[in-house]
């Protein structure tokens, strides 16, 4: 049997439904006349399992899993990694430093741009955005260790 995209997607939703039911163990279901906090989550989880099973049952209409193209996966993984680093540094370093580093990293590492244009662009757009938000729109941005 060929593994199809909908086999994987359906299995994910079945697993998710089961996980929600397992995590809802300590939530009271209540009764029909007085539904508890676990009432609707369990109903929706059962629906997710049911629809997931239907998706698996009709999976032959979908693409083979092996046919899914992942040519953009490297780009996506790099963007996620750099953005995650940016988020982790956002509060300790503040808006200005973090975003200059973030944009520079995206341009230099992923887009292979030369250091000088990448530096100029990242400093230029981040400082412009900072001035626009802080002085024109009066919206404070996260300060860094030096107070800006």
């Amino acid at each position: 049997m060929t593994l199809r995209a909908d086999h994987v997607a359906g299995a994910f939703f079945i697993g998710l439904g089961l996980l929600v039911i397992a995590l809802s163990g300590d939530l009271p279901t209540g009764s029909l006349s007085m539904p508890g906090s676990g009432f609707l989550p369990k109903i929706v989880a059962v629906m997710a399992i049911f629809f997931g099973a239907v998706l698996v049952a009709r999976a032959k209409e979908s693409k083979a899993f092996a046919e899914l193209t992942w040519s953009d996966a490297k780009h996506a993984a790099l963007v996620v990694a750099i953005t995650a680093a940016g988020i982790a540094l956002f509060e300790p370093l503040g808006f200005l430093t973090t975003n200059v580093l973030l944009i520079f990293a995206l341009l230099a590492i992923i887009e292979r741009r030369q250091v000088l244009p990448a530096t100029g662009y990242s400093v230029g757009v981040v400082v412009t955005t900072y001035v626009l938000f802080v002085y024109v729109l009066k919206t404070p941005l996260e300060p860094g260790p030096l107070g800006f």
Binding site: A9, G36, L40, V44, F51, L55, D72, F90, E142
Partner: protein, 510 residues
Amino acid sequence: METTLHSLYLGFSVALQPANAWYAFLGCLVGTLVGVLPGIGPLAGISILLPVTFGLNATQAIIMLAGIYYGSQYGGSTTSILMRIPGEASSVMTCIDGYAMAKKGRAGAALCIAAIGSWIGGTFGVLVLTVVAPPLATIAIRFGPPEYTALLVLGLIFLAYMSSSSLIRTLLMACLGLLLGMIGIDNMTGHFRYSFNLAELGDGIGIVPVAVGLFGLGEILSTPSADAVKDIITPRLRDLLPTRKEWGEAAMPITRGTLLGFIIGIIPGSAHVISSFLSYALEKRVSKHPDQFGKGAVAGVAGPETANNAASTGAFVPLLALGIPTSPITAVLIGALMIHGVSVGPTLVNEHPDVFWGFVASMYVGNLMLLALNLPLVSVFVTVLRIPYAYLYPLIIMFCIIGVYEVNNSIVDVWIMLIMGILGYALRKFDFDPAPLVLGLVISPILEQSLRQSLIMSNGNYFIFFTRPISLSLMMISITLLALAAYAFVLKRTDWRTRLAKAEAGEAEK
């Protein structure tokens, strides 16, 4: 009627104040840019720019954000017609015939017809909103939990039925959204649900990080810069006017698109997207020359473009009259008003007439501004598309982070955005549309509360939804839609929705 005119006068006196008119203009301008730029739709655009409105008053905030919403519908047509790239989802159908017209040297005419149709659709929507919303708000005061439950269930089923992806996929996305919406403190019992001891999750998962992650970051992850298209047709200003024949061909599709779009708009769901698909199908069905569709049919541009703008305005009726977010975008708008201390619902028109009527009047002004902006300045907007994507997406990522962080000053929200971005990327791979997920998240708290209140009211009797006239009518419509969908599903019939999905997929592959 006299009261309405008087109120509208009040609205114009608010909307035409220089500061308010400036924010309407700014919203329209940014909205057009959001619509023009592929990879950043109106939902992500509004969410990202939400913090910018914190320094404004409620009227200015809603005027600017709504301007971004309907402005993006105008701007979305530009990339569809000139590049065959839908700037946002509701412009997908315009790609087919709009680009074909552009290839035949009629890009200017296509843009003009799209802009005029959008203006007519948008203005008609505002006219009906002016007349309908206040009396509807009076009726809405009689809405109880069963009516709200039935309306929200209808919204979900309608979205699933109308969706161009499969019914099961849409329902699965809605389930995922509903489950995400249940994270946090249960309002009725105070239980913590699925928050994993993270205090930040106590208030639940916000719409903004989910929307920006799925639609903003998710799109960027799926679009390597090498894939960005650079082939742009630039129309000359003198070519903008359509011929008399083209006007004649556009007249009836614009009329039909206006009515269809508005009706679809007031029903919960991703109205502006669905309305353009339905309008295209309708125009092809009624056309004397259906073979011309796909080869540059004027009706294929005029109908969908008019319908998506009429639907955008129609979506404000349930928002302003009932306080129900019928789409993720209107949910963010409700959030914006709540941040400014204005609660949206049937009482809005009486408690904040300056906000309500100022907003309505600003849409008349905004639609005129958009017409003035979009036609003469089309070549300027096209220039924006020449910015290399490699330089554009780092900027969008930065705005995604600022937009999400500034709403609650919470870094957890930004992490949620990143997770949602990865989820959005995976969903695209497996052909799932993320819009129902966001709608599920939006309506989840209201649906859960109204369902539980209804059951408590009826002492556990489910028939409460079938014993009250309004909820009975809404439930019957839901059941009919489900039966129709089940009929097509069981018999594996290829109905109009499947054909539209194929048309959309075919367009995406080109």
